[in-house]
Every structure is written in structure tokens, then in C-alpha cells.
Subunit: 314 residues, 2 copies
């Protein structure tokens, strides 16, 4: 089976890593959100892309899930002492990634080319593609007005109430080379447990991607477990948008395209409501604490997807 | 007495530090070579300026004389692994300086303004001025053709034979704010033990600076001791230019402007030749191994300068 995974940051990266453990390189393409990319200290920073790459390369910080393991913060200390912006911390190892990406971007290389070369240097065999080479900054509408994503997420610590999202310039963007091809060739598309509005919807907003996703082959893993997000503001966003956060609410968010929905055992009461949406539910333990959890969940998700597809074909 | 010091990198920074230990902040201005500034990893790097600042702030690496103490190289390792330029190493702490300077330069701040703010942040009371806010890249003519200074100095490790120097765009540059004022108000100008061609001549090439230097008040400390440079390629350059490297040769290099010349005890045989140039020689131990050496030499240089000036006035 050819698999495409759509992923945002930490949660998405964990399942993507599990899929990479479970699948040969030629059978998996990971398409990553770049809506949270921004410029900081004059550098092009791509938080979700780096989290996915670092995780698959075994370079990620196991405590935080983002950033590099064995990291130090000496450049940050100095920038901070010199009066530079200190609301977003960049570690020393991580800094090398942004420096070299920025240099190559300035010389005209595309983000997808740079990412391919970085993955090769880090020994990542599986294909990791940014959703687009064009900037599509996610904007968050809050009680303070429209905020660029990192302003909302890091600087304001997700405090302001959200009311809307915009994927700026999505209408004039195109998918990165290989993205549509991978989706068309995929037998199964897995939406990783990432935030629906600020990790997955930005990917779906790139012209052509949603159309390429034939609804019979898409399954999602819920980022909401027991009414809470494992990481990040997803549950808080549901509440602020007037929706009760639940695995069912995630399924409903994707009602147009989803064929199957993977939810955690604690949410098994949502099964009938999800079935009522016309989706096949699958219940298992979805919390990935160890690398072994990632692989086990990935294998269950793949088996569920395979059975669901063959059921539909029969 | 008001003192101006002209300084390049490591040797110049040491004497500048000694002068800063010996003089109140209001009586010392250090004018620093910026001819070796260049762009690396997309960042504005000012090696001499940083060496002088780090030295005066007590932040310099005591082993190398340049760069930061307690430095790490994690960003460099990553840049190098990703295929970026690895012929010039930038440490993590040091990187913060270049990042914030580059950011401020891009927003339109002048190098002199940025340097003033950085000095304040690092607790440096004495005034450190770049020779100019305009880029004046030193070019080295070698058997390989014209090389930008850092290409010659670091990438080629000073191997190619030199035959000429050019201070590019010096003719259209202006001194940084405060430079000419400090020189006019100075009772004594001290040329620190720095390379004549690539540290001091670039300063003297900035329009207005040489004219402001009245010849009665300038003394130099020889960077050549016993026919050798304590650091860097000065002695090698003398040989390649067909001149025997010596304290006398340094005096002759500055024959147009120098009133006094400080040479090392091992070079005391040069005294009569230096006197024949019309200069007052002063012989002492000029090698600065410890911070105490710096202060001792600075105090001797100041006393010599003071006596020389009062002799001339009488």
C-alpha cells in the first residue's frame, strides 16, 4: 500500500515516525503543514517541518517533542542580552537549520528542494514534503484582532480567544512538487493527530489538495482524547468556537472527506455518533508515549485502513 | 590626556584593553578596523570590532584571543552537516552577535549605533567606534588574484603570496560619527600592535582620518617583535613585499605620520635607524601574555607619549 500522511507538529510527527518505522521508504510520503512558518531573527523558521524531520531523524528533543536533543541556548542568551526578540527561543543546533535554509532560500532554492537535501543529510529515507513552496501564513482571528500564528501560539501563549482562521494567500499558492502525485497514488491517506484548524486545514487549503483526496481513502487519528488535546490549543479552540471538544467533533470537522476515524479507548462512547456521520470508527489506545507506541499505533492504523478500503471495494 | 587608539584584531584589542584599564572612559576612544567585515551564512560579521568588544567586556576566548569564552559550536556542526560553508567557523555565543547586528542593519541602523548599543549591553564604558559605517572591504592581491580579506586570511590560511592591498570603496566612504571629533580632540593617538596593511591602513584610508592625524601626536607599537609577528601574517607579508620584517620596517611604513615608536627590547638595535627616520623610539617589553601585561604596557606607552608631547611643546 502507498500511504500519504498529513502532519502538523509534535503529535503528527510522532505518528509519522511510527508510519516510517512500519513502512518502506517508497511507500510513505509525509506532507507537512508550513502555515506556521515565519521569519524570526531574520531567518526562515519552519517549526512543523523541522519537528517532523528531527523526529524521523531521531534528533528531536524527547522532552518537548520539538527542537533538537542535546541542545544549548548560547546564541539565544546573547541575542536576548543585546536586546533582540526573545519571545521565541531558538536553540544553537536548531539555529544551524534555519541559517542554512535561509541562505539557500535567498539564493532561490525552493523549500521542497532544501527539505529534500536536509533529509538526505540527516539520513531520513522517507519522503517529507512541505505542503507548498509558497508562503501561506496561518492567521488566527482573536479578541486582539488577526494575529500571525506564532504571535498567537508562542508570544501570546494561546491566551486570546479565537474566532476564525485564515490561510493567507492559499488561493494563489500551488502544492509543492510531488504532493498531488503522492496523493493520487496513495491507497490510503492518514490525517495524523494534529490540530484541525492550524495544522491540517492549512494543508487542505492549498488548491488541488482537497480535490485530490478521494473521500473513500482518508482516515484521521483524533488529536482530542477524553475531551482534551494532548498538546497545544485544539481543545481550547473548540470551546472558544462553541463546540464541545471530543473525538466526535474532530470527525465532524472532516465530515466532507473522511471514511474512517481512529479514536482513543476513552472515547469509545463516540462510536455511534461517528458511525452516524457515515464513517467507520476504530477504537484503540492512541497516546504515543514511547517510540514503540508510535509504531504499534501506526501498524493498527494501517491495518484498519487496509481493511476499511478492502471492505469498500468488496 | 585624551587618547585615541587605532586597533585591528587580537594584538590591537589587547593594548586597547590595557588602555581601557589605565584610562577613564571619557579619555579614551578606540577606532577599529572594519575592512575585514564580511557576510557569512547571510550574516554581517565584523571580526575586529567583535574581538575588541569581547576583549574589553572580558568575554573573549583567552586561548585564541578572538571569539567568545565558554563557546560551543552546535550551529556550526549542523550548518556543516547540511552542506553549508564550513571554512569559517562561527561559535554559538558569537552567532547571537551577528544575528542581532544583521537584523538591526537590515532595519537601517548604522554599524556605529549598533556597536554603541552592544557595548552598553556588554557593560563596556569606553567608546569603541567602527572606522566607518560604510563597507570598505580590504582586498588582498595575491598570486591567485584579488581575494576578499577573509578568503585570503581564513579560507586560504594566508598561503598565497601577497603583492598589494586595496581598500575597496574607501574613496566614497566617510568616517563613522565621532571618529574625526575624537582624533581632533586627542592629545595622543596610539596605533596598536596590529597589522599595518590589513588592520591600520584600512583605517587611515577612510577620507579625512589621515588628514586629522597631526603628525606630532602619533605613536605606534610595533606588531613585529624579533622579526616575527606575534599573530597573523604581518611578517610573511613583509617578506613577500620584499622588505625585511622588523620594528624598523614598521616605523618606516608609517614614516609620514609617526612621532614616536614603541619597540620590543629584543629589537633595541633598531633604535638608531628609527631615530634616523625622525622618530622618538621607546624600548620596552611589548609582549602581552596576561591582562596585567596589557595594563603595564599601556601605562608605559601613555607615559612615553605624554613625555614625547611635552618635549615637543617645550
Amino acid at each position: 500500500m502507498n500511504i500519504v500522511a498529513l502532519a502538523g507538529g509534535v503529535g503528527g510527527a510522532k505518528l509519522a515516525d511510527g508510519l516510517a518505522q512500519a513502512l518502506p521508504a517508497e511507500n510513505l510520503t509525509i506532507i507537512v503543514n508550513t502555515g506556521d512558518d515565519f521569519e524570526h531573527w531574520g531567518l526562515k523558521v519552519c517549526p512543523d517541518l523541522d519537528t517532523v524531520c528531527y523526529t524521523l531523524a531521531g534528533l528531536a528533543n524527547p522532552e518537548t517533542g520539538w527542537g533538537r536533543a542535546d541542545e544549548s541556548w548560547l546564541a539565544f542568551e546573547n541575542v536576548s542580552q543585546l536586546g533582540g526578540a526573545d519571545w521565541f527561543r531558538i536553540g544553537d543546533r536548531d539555529l544551524g537549520t534555519h541559517l542554512e535554509r535561509t541562505r539557500r532560500s535567498r539564493q532561490g532554492d525552493k523549500l521542497s528542494e532544501i527539505t529534500r537535501d536536509f533529509c538526505e543529510a540527516w539520513g531520513i529515507a522517507h519522503s517529507i514534503l512541505p505542503m507548498s513552496d509558497d508562503p501561506i501564513p496561518t492567521m488566527v482571528h482573536t479578541e486582539l484582532g488577526w494575529l500571525p500564528f506564532q504571535e498567537y501560539f508562542v508570544r501570546q501563549r494561546c491566551q486570546p480567544r479565537v474566532s476564525d482562521f485564515e490561510y493567507h494567500n492559499a488561493d494563489i499558492a500551488t502544492p509543492a512538487p510531488g504532493v498531488l502525485e503522492a496523493i493520487y497514488e496513495a491507497d490510503l491517506v492518514v490525517i495524523c493527530p494534529s490540530n484541525p484548524w492550524v495544522s491540517i486545514d492549512p494543508i487542505l487549503a492549498v488548491p488541488g489538495i482537497r480535490d485530490a483526496l478521494s473521500s473513500g481513502k482518508i482516515i484521521a487519528v483524533s488529536p482530542i482524547v477524553g475531551g482534551k488535546a494532548l498538546k497545544g490549543p485544539a481543545a481550547k479552540m473548540y470551546v472558544e468556537l462553541g463546540i464541545e471538544p471530543s473525538a466526535y467533533a474532530v470527525a465532524e470537522h472532516y465530515v466532507d472527506c473522511l471514511a474512517g476515524m481512529v479514536i482513543d479507548s476513552v472515547d469509545k462512547d463516540d462510536v455511534s455518533r461517528i458511525q452516524a456521520l457515515g464513517m467507520t470508527p476504530f477504537v484503540t489506545d492512541t497516546i504515543m508515549t514511547t517510540p514503540a507506541d508510535r509504531q504499534r499505533l501506526a501498524e493498527e492504523v494501517l491495518q484498519f485502513g487496509e481493511e476499511m478500503i478492502s471492505d469498500k471495494i468488496e
